[in-house]
Symmetry: C2
Subunit: 304 residues, 2 copies
């Protein structure tokens, strides 16, 4: 990151005292708490693919880039340590774009206790690219993975699904607090954040775990945006909820007794949580029709 | 990183046993050695700025991206832990570009004990962008910084300088082994890797340390490429050596007694090491003319 930008950042985002961290020179120094293990996630967002500069404000774009990485930390139940931001700024966009992007990140960085600790600022004659690497920490072997789901597990989802493209993909809230709260209280076997589509990401978690998943379509929470998107294109709201990308909600697999215990507890968050299915032995994604499991083709966004 | 690419990578680069690390899901898990602190550096390289796809091979480009990050770790005397690679691949370049980039990184990753542990693969209709984040570790408070130089320190440089654009910027060797060897034996006060020009980066180290630097131009090692570049453009080889970017050599500031002790020791590396100047109290960059310090304007590449 340019020295000038680091100085600007230092004034606005002094490293939070409880997270020992120092802005380095060519590199930043981080300290993990004693005995903790590190978790590293990296996401690259490009103009015209993940956002549209001009249509979306630099602040919205910056926030989304950081939020996507923090959502990855949430999906592993990791406490944020620091984030690093590299950008390729289009020369045509003017000198302030870098600062505007960062200023869109700062409120979320503060809220999530994830200081921006470094990066690399570049400019070129092409479109805007942002790469965020976030580092988190967990107790040893306590990070959630995609691969631990077991037949019988209940699939729990945060939030509502579908139609994110209408706006929610820019202002979603990473479910970090919810993840950390659940991790402290329950035996979560597997987790993922829904970036590419509810049905696709549920299929991925079951596939990574060597089993399958039965989805209960009738209880999937439909967002207002899913209904709005359905009005626009004539598809069903449920189709949007199952296949639209970038909801950034969490799917978690819990043993039935934990799911039951969770239902009896006070849930201290505004976002709803819903049991939307169950892990089954038979690999694949399924729904039940007249008592029989029938295939439900996973749909969503495939990168490539 | 796409699952398919991770699988491909796993086959070719199994995590080195002495570096406990596992390829995660949305994130990778890293473990620092007990009591060590982490060092994080991130670099973004863009087609047309840092390399030219078509003119340079994907393998060369991939290697350069990783080498630049490892050079940053070397400048802090940090042992590599893992690297993370995000790419925006131009759709026009074909499906193999991602793998070719990674295949150019793997030999260096292995040589430097820096496994590729994750990343994010994307494609778009614009030019190639690569972002590498490297994580290293050091003993607590043992990371070299730019800011510790003291008046009287001798400035030591590895390698030769100038004309990197003629090819060396693609095949340079990060001075990691040299850095770790020096860190174990000497009291290095400050260090930097020369990415933007010898005189500019020497000025930066002195400025960060609140002092100045006297450069001894007559002893700066001139690379063959500096002479070649000078023939082409009529400037002096020394000018190239002082102002050309991307030499990726190290500048180190050592107390005189350590510099003396180093001179008496067997230097077990092929690359030359040369004392090229001295830290002075008076801020600025200087050279001595007829016994008097006169200003030497720092020159090099300023990121924009």
């Amino acid at each position: 990151m340019e020295l000038e930008l680091i100085d600007w950042l230092r004034e606005r985002c002094p490293a939070t005292p409880q997270i020992p961290l120092s802005v380095g020179d060519d590199a930043a120094i981080i300290r993990l708490s004693a005995g903790r293990q590190g978790v590293v996630t990296t996401d690259m967002l490009m103009d015209g693919v993940d956002f549209r500069l001009g249509e979306h404000s630099p602040q919205q774009i910056g926030r989304k880039a950081l939020a996507a990485s923090i959502s990855d930390l949430a999906a592993m139940a990791a406490y944020p340590v620091a984030a690093f931001v590299s950008v390729a700024l289009p020369k045509s966009a003017g000198n302030d774009l870098g600062r505007e992007l960062i200023s869109g990140m700062l409120p979320l960085a503060e809220e999530m206790h994830c200081p921006l600790a470094g990066g690399d600022t570049n400019s070129w004659n092409e479109k805007l690219v942002i790469s965020v690497t976030a580092i988190g920490e967990t107790e040893p072997d306590k990070a959630w993975r995609r691969s631990g789901a077991q037949p019988g597990d209940i699939v729990l989802a945060t939030g509502m699904f579908g139609g994110s493209i209408l706006g929610h993909h820019l202002d979603f809230q990473p479910r970090l607090q919810e993840a950390l709260w659940l991790a402290e209280r329950f035996n979560v076997h597997a987790a993922i954040d829904v970036s590419d589509g509810l049905s696709l990401d549920l299929w991925r978690i079951s596939q990574a775990s060597g089993c399958g998943a039965e989805l209960w379509p009738e209880v999937v929470p439909l967002s207002a945006a899913a209904r709005e998107a359905a009005k626009k294109d004539g598809r069903k709201p449920l189709e949007h909820a199952l296949s639209d990308g970038e909801d950034f909600e969490l799917l978690l697999c819990l043993p039935p007794e934990d799911a039951h215990r969770l239902r009896l507890m006070t849930w201290p968050f505004d976002v709803p949580r819903t049991c939307i299915g169950q892990i089954v032995e038979q690999p694949g994604l399924w729904q039940r029709v007249k008592g029989e499991l029938v295939p439900l083709p996973p749909q969503g966004y495939l990168h490539g």
